[in-house]
């Protein structure tokens, strides 16, 4: 749609002496409905339309963005990016060659949210609300959310890609208060499909039921013991484990600078043989479906760890050039107004051959945990991730519910402790959460099976 404008802009960039230029157009809509205690506490839609311009001049990269899509507006953004690059002085940055993803559409979307009325979307949130209250939820918020976009990327050398993005979902959060105790639970579901996705296990009622069950368990639970112990993570939580404990430090912007503890370790055994971790643009088992990254490159399935051995890093065109490798299609930007940086897509542990119950039965003392609350990692390899509910396991039995706990470890040792991996892989996403890095938000998918680490530091209270 913007082919001609882009061609003129890229010509102008070449005339300025830029060795590479790129313009990325985004036309996106975010929809959000929230129902709190029966009233519509939010009903909003955001239309975002603009372009980001990236320029490589004299070995330095400048980026700018504009919501003025006239040629004049785009040229002004180009000049801003050009001046920013020039201000850096000479550098040695390069952009790796890459194949454009071409023109891609999301297949199999029957009822795209752009064609569904507000009434039906509001009804989905209301149905979830009514079910949660019917079960006994005292304070309840339910949400419907969707994000959809069409993106076009043009860059030097005739590179052109255009593709769709979509994520739709539901969320419920429930608070229970009884006898001076408080429990809260939530559930989020989502995926890159149409409105028809919000059925079966993703129906408003099912989402409300799981949020209520989790709140009930949270109410009955108490803080776990503190210190190092065996931890079994259920699929939802395993995904956060993969993302925080490992994924971030394979992002090559931390690797080429030498800051990541995984720098220079390709081919090394860094985890137990039970560990295989993948980052993929999409997977049949769920998550978000990303056809291309925000540099217009098709997303590859990237095996990060294969049976314990570090196999790959995650790359954008910038980091691929730094390390003399190929981009893996991980150059992602929050929106048109942000520059692409290396981000994960769907990150998950692959299946093993244990059963979940078998793992519990074979655990003498430890915790089995679920309902992730996020996590973080820092460059020394210390990672954290949090669980809101679970059980203390003693002699193969779940003996007591526990709650609100941070799990911590160091990347270079913790993956060695993974000693049992089940086959129940689930991959999840939603339009409500995501990952933050460098001031940018990204929708991601997380997943894996139930697995056990024989030793993690547990931030308990006893």
């Amino acid at each position: 749609m913007y082919e001609d404008t882009a061609a003129r802009l890229l010509e102008r960039a070449a005339a300025l002496g830029a060795s590479f230029a790129e313009v990325r157009f985004e036309d996106a809509v975010s929809e959000n409905i929230a129902v709190t205690n029966g009233r519509v506490s939010s009903l909003s839609t955001t239309r975002r339309r603009g372009a980001g311009v990236r320029v490589l001049y004299n070995g330095s990269i400048g980026f700018s963005a504009t919501s003025d899509l006239s040629l004049g507006g785009l040229e002004a953004a180009l000049m801003e990016a050009y001046h920013a690059a020039r201000a850096l002085g000479g550098g040695d940055k390069r952009i790796a060659d890459a194949e454009p993803a071409g023109r891609l559409r999301l297949e199999g979307v029957r009822r795209h949210p752009s064609g569904v009325g507000w009434e039906e979307k509001l009804d989905a949130a209301m149905r979830a609300y009514r079910r949660a209250v019917e079960l006994g939820g005292q304070v309840v918020t339910t949400r419907y959310g969707a994000y959809y976009a069409v993106e076009e990327v043009y860059s030097t050398g005739g590179f052109a890609s255009s593709f769709e993005k979509l994520v739709i979902g539901l969320q419920a959060s429930v608070v229970l208060r009884e006898n001076g105790k408080t429990g809260n639970g939530y559930e989020s579901v989502g995926g890159s499909g149409g409105f028809e996705m919000l059925a079966g296990g993703f129906s408003p009622e099912a989402v409300a039921e799981r949020a209520y069950e989790r709140a009930r368990l949270h109410l009955e639970a108490s803080p776990p013991p503190a210190g190092e112990m065996a931890v079994i993570t259920r699929p939802d939580l395993t995904g956060v484990f993969a993302h925080e404990s490992f994924g971030h430090l394979t992002e090559a912007d931390h690797v080429y600078t030498g800051a990541s503890p995984l720098h220079g370790r390709l081919g090394e055994e860094i985890a137990s043989e039970h560990v295989t971790i993948v980052d993929a643009g999409w997977d049949e088992r769920g998550g978000i479906r990303l056809l291309a990254d925000d540099e217009g490159v098709a997303t590859r399935r990237t095996v990060l760890v294969e049976r314990g051995v570090l196999r790959s890093y995650l790359h954008s065109r910038e980091t691929a050039a730094e390390m003399g490798m190929e981009t893996t299609g991980n150059g992602r930007a929050q929106d048109y107004a942000h520059d692409p940086i290396v981000r994960m897509r769907n990150t998950f542990f692959e299946a093993g051959d244990w059963g979940e119950e078998e793992i519990v039965e074979e655990t003498r003392r430890g915790l089995i945990l679920d309902m992730p609350a996020g996590g973080q990692v820092q460059l020394d390899g210390t990672f954290t991730f949090n669980a809101m509910i679970g059980y203390l396991v003693e002699n193969g039995e779940r003996v007591k519910p526990v709650r609100d706990v941070v799990l911590a470890g160091n990347i270079l040792e913790m993956l060695r402790y993974v000693d049992a991996v089940a086959g129940n892989v689930e991959i999840r996403t939603s339009p409500f959460g995501g990952c933050g890095k460098g001031g940018q938000h990204a929708y991601v998918g997380l997943g894996g099976p139930t697995l056990r680490a024989s030793k993690l530091l547990v931030g308990g209270r006893q």
Binding site: A81, A84, G117, L379, V405
Partner: protein
């Protein structure tokens, strides 16, 4: 400058389409940023525009936003908002939009010097910081550096006569270092006056934390004891727990543990207020996101709950007045302006003597803290074990507890520091925290 006439047209259009009331919030921001991967710098120069239209049709409210102030786009957003509102549910509590009011102070956090800063200056500043780290000669690796300057204008207009605008500026520098297995991070922020940014303070702090972390040993035990939090370290925890607990919307809806606790003693000896009028502070402005004047609101006095943060809607729900704390994202919510913890009398040294652990740097996973219960379980990035009057660096440790259960044992120190979440706090000594590492 934002063009008022277009916004005025949007309001008139909303009324023509059948809205009872309408409001437009517009903002324009300019940001210049130099950031790095390792020592390699990258320059970003951004201008963003956003418009948010809120309408009420027979007490049914909806919002439509766009990234342009072009007439066609804005009128499109108005139509979208009105048609969405028509299908929403009626909210009998809807009090209407606020009317006009004069600001309660006169400080404008706008520095022309920051607004006109050339990218070249930020490049030189970032390079200078890298050079200074090198000149320390301690084998410190620069993981990332950042220097940015931003300026912006916001405008709120509504059909009840609110018509206010203001400008603001800010500057940020950040430095992350690494040595061996140790990392350290430091930053500074300022609304104005380039000279206010503490370049050497940031370099020294990041270097000290990194060098200490590089020689840190494992704690190797679990105990319950007193932890002294640096102001910068504890600010995000206070933001997660107290800013939410005093949020009028979360109080009205029953999420906050302080709902129904007005007048009750629940926070030890802490005195806490919100103040959007402090000259120079990060959260200071003339008006909130609904155009209601900023003010000072007492939240807790000697541990007794005295008030909550409100926008126009939540205030009406609780039969009080807006405290000028409306915030704006996809929806109109509530947030603190500057959240201030009143300092105590003890010096840092006195508190340090009483502490077993000193938490510096930041708290990993602090965004996961459960404000509904007050439970926290986080990891301190740069902790120190206090032994015989000496601070000995240890590897990251977990810190866990319930803020309300621990509050009787919280002792605020002297010297308030304003930090980047617009939380101003002294160091806090918190007894009874479970520490493990």
């Amino acid at each position: 400058m934002i063009e008022r006439s277009v916004l005025d047209k949007a309001l008139k259009r909303a009324l023509e389409l059948g809205a009872d009331e309408a409001e437009v919030y517009a903002s324009v921001t300019h940001k210049r940023e130099v950031k790095s991967e390792g020592r390699k710098l990258k320059a970003v120069s951004l201008s963003t525009v956003s418009a948010s239209v809120r309408v009420a049709v027979d007490k049914r409210v909806a919002i439509a936003r766009a990234t342009s102030l072009d007439e066609e786009v804005l009128l499109g957003a108005v139509e979208e908002a009105v048609s969405a509102a028509r299908v929403s549910e009626k909210d009998e509590h809807w009090p209407g939009l606020p009317g006009p009011a004069e600001p309660l102070h006169g400080w404008i956090g706008y520095d022309e010097g920051i607004a006109t800063l050339e990218p070249g200056y930020l490049v030189e500043l970032a390079k200078y910081m890298i050079g200074e780290v090198d000149s320390l000669g301690r084998d410190l690796m620069v993981a990332s550096v950042e220097a940015s300057a931003h300026s912006g204008e916001t405008l709120v207009m509504n059909t009840r006569g609110v018509d206010v605008s203001e400008r603001g500026t800010g500057m940020v520098i950040m430095l992350e270092l690494k040595k061996g297995e140790g990392t350290g991070f430091s930053f500074d922020v300022s609304r104005s006056l380039l000279g206010d940014i503490q370049v050497y303070g940031v370099i020294d702090e990041a270097a000290r934390l990194t060098l200490d972390a590089a020689r840190a040993e494992k704690l190797g035990e679990t105990f319950k004891g007193p932890v002294l939090f640096d102001p910068v370290t504890v600010a995000p925890l206070l933001n997660m727990i107290l800013s939410q607990a005093f949020n009028g919307e979360l109080v009205v809806e029953g999420y906050s543990p302080l709902a129904g606790k007005l007048g009750q003693h629940v926070l030890g000896s802490l005195t806490l207020y919100d103040d959007g009028t402090i000259p120079g502070a990060l959260g200071t402005s003339l008006y909130d996101a609904e155009g209601v004047p900023r003010r000072r609101t007492l939240l807790a006095e000697e541990g007794v709950v005295k008030g909550f943060l409100h926008n126009t809607y939540t205030a009406a729900r609780m039969g009080t007045e807006s405290t000028g704390n409306a915030s704006r994202g996809g929806r109109v919510g509530v947030s603190h302006s500057n959240l201030v913890v009143k300092p105590g009398r003890d010096s840092w040294e006195t508190l340090e003597e009483a502490a077993r652990i000193v938490a510096r740097g930041f708290l990993l996973s602090v965004h996961t803290v459960n404000y509904v219960t007050g439970n926290f379980s986080v990891v301190a990035s740069n902790p120190y074990l206090v032994r015989g009057g000496e601070e000995k660096p240890v590897k990251p440790v977990t810190l866990a507890g319930n803020f309300y259960e621990l509050s009787p044992g919280i002792v605020p120190g002297r010297r308030v520091r304003h930090t980047y979440m617009a939380v101003a706090t002294p160091p806090l000594l918190v007894d009874g925290v479970t520490v493990s590492g």
